[in-house]
């Protein structure tokens, strides 16, 4: 029911991120200054209103929470000092924990590939990241010409850089329950 306001989502986000979304009075500065707004299905001030209304499912499945690039322009301009980028982080984390099908599956695959590389090598290695992402997303043939140029200019190193304390890295991921399972 659209006229039922559910405060649970707003409270859960406050507990998770410390942000009081109820302070938003819809000045819309966040949306006006958002560099990604042109590609979003919900612009930031709409996200804030929907958090106040508790429209959890629509938010969890939106593209917006994955398209937000965390540039934090909105955060620095919010007159009510709401860290909107942190709210987006909170929504992303909740969507993952709830096992929702992501509004932007390829962005999720990128994060999985990125963190998987750190989990097993401790560092970000471009060939491992790109290889893992291409495999997960099945976009094997994107940017092949670019890859060749990057190899030639030493932008991509063949040998991965690996930390010595690999057990320590695994422990961080196990303890925080982060990264790919």
């Amino acid at each position: 029911m659209i006229n039922t306001v559910n405060r649970e989502l707003e409270k859960a986000l406050e507990q998770r991120t410390g942000q009081k979304v109820r302070d938003c009075y819809q000045c819309k500065k966040c949306s006006a200054g958002c560099p990604i707004a042109f590609a979003m299905d919900l612009v930031p001030h709409e996200v804030m209103k929907m958090v106040q209304y508790g429209q959890e499912r629509r938010l969890m499945r939106s593209s917006t929470i994955w398209l937000c690039a965390s540039c934090e322009t909105c955060t620095t301009r919010c007159p009510n000092e709401i860290d909107i980028a942190a709210v987006m982080d909170g929504l992303r984390q909740m969507a993952l924990e709830a096992g929702e099908s992501l509004g932007e599956p390829e962005v999720g695959m990128f994060h999985k590939s990125f963190l998987g590389g750190i989990k097993y090598t401790g560092k970000t290695n471009e060939p491992i990241l790109i290889g893992a992402y291409k495999t997960l997303s099945r976009r094997l043939f994107d940017d092949l010409g670019l890859g060749a140029v990057m190899l030639a200019r030493r932008k991509i190193k063949i040998l991965p850089r690996v930390v010595k304390d690999r057990a320590g890295m695994r422990r961080i991921f196990d303890r925080t329950e982060g990264g790919p399972k």
Binding site: I36, L67, S70, E104, D142, R161
Partner: protein
């Protein structure tokens, strides 16, 4: 001037895709008498992917590096804008939230409560040494270079932890470039996002953002873009290449790290850095007689 002593977090990009940023950083620091002690067995800060998916992980990953810095006990120098932002945010959260600090300590197995200062090299050069004092190290005038300073997001935001003088219109990099004799062109896109974290997954969006930056840099009358962020640089250079989402107008504007220009102005051997750019700055620099 007395020597400056830091522990040093190079960051993944500076040993990989932004090798020229890492090499030029180490060369200018050595020449300026800034001693760098690399954190032993440092690991990735987790960048955007960590904080977007798991809050504790996003503090624990840089927390491991902060614990290594605590053991050394010196102030910590970082050059990558993204690593810098993550390190500062993590330090802030660890020192202000004891319950979180204890959780990070358990995950990392070391004490992450690093109380030293975390510094960005641009801040150290432009504000500690100062552009008047840097003059005595300079051997070449960079006249002819017309740059737009591109701060991007993470050098200035969040302003509570970052180093620049203004979050909307910072001038640190402007002052730095003017001090080297570079003509700084005014533009309104100093702190606009390039879409770095979406570079592989939503290339169409990134192409749109990067294209606008190039068009605006050209309108500003610049012949190069100068940055302190390896994500911005990679994104700006990669998306000028022919690919799936090519520009309707092809751009060939070089993107340079502030450390490369400092090294060039100091008369250091900069040629090898410039060779690893995707958009070679060498034709421009040769035309201006800045390299042989």
């Amino acid at each position: 001037m007395s020597r400056i002593d830091f522990s040093y977090f190079p960051g993944c990009s500076q040993t990989g895709s932004a090798e020229e940023f890492g090499l030029s950083t180490e060369a200018v620091c050595a020449a300026l008498g800034i001693d760098l002690e690399e954190l032993p067995d440092w690991s990735c800060c987790g960048a955007s992917s960590a904080h977007m998916t798991n809050d504790l992980l996003s503090i624990a990953l840089p927390g491991r590096d902060l614990a290594l810095a605590k053991k050394i006990g010196k102030d910590l120098l970082v050059v990558c804008a993204a690593c810098y932002s993550r390190m500062k945010v993590a330090q802030n959260r660890i020192l202000s939230d004891e319950a979180l600090a204890a959780e990070v300590e358990a995950a990392v197995g070391m004490d992450p409560r690093f109380t030293g200062r975390i510094r960005h090299l641009l801040d150290v050069v432009a504000n500690d040494i100062g552009m008047r004092d840097i003059k005595k190290w300079l051997r070449a005038d960079l006249a002819g270079l017309k740059a737009v300073p591109y701060y991007g997001c993470l050098l200035v935001r969040p302003p509570e932890v970052c180093c620049c003088d203004s979050v909307e219109n910072p001038t640190d990099l402007d002052r730095f470039l003017k001090g080297l004799g570079v003509e700084v062109r005014p533009w309104s896109f100093k702190t606009d996002c390039c879409g770095g974290s979406l570079s592989l997954s939503r290339t169409d969006i990134v192409e749109n953002l990067v294209n606008r930056l190039y068009v605006q840099a050209e309108h500003a009358g610049a012949n190069c873009i100068v940055t302190a962020c390896p994500m911005c640089a990679a994104n700006l250079e990669m998306r000028q290449q022919p690919g799936k989402f090519t520009f309707t107008v092809v751009h060939r504007m070089p993107v340079l790290y502030f450390t490369e220009l400092l090294g060039l102005a100091m008369g250091l051997d900069a040629q090898s850095w410039f060779k690893s750019h995707l958009i070679s700055p060498l034709p421009l620099l040769k035309q201006l007689d800045l390299v042989n």
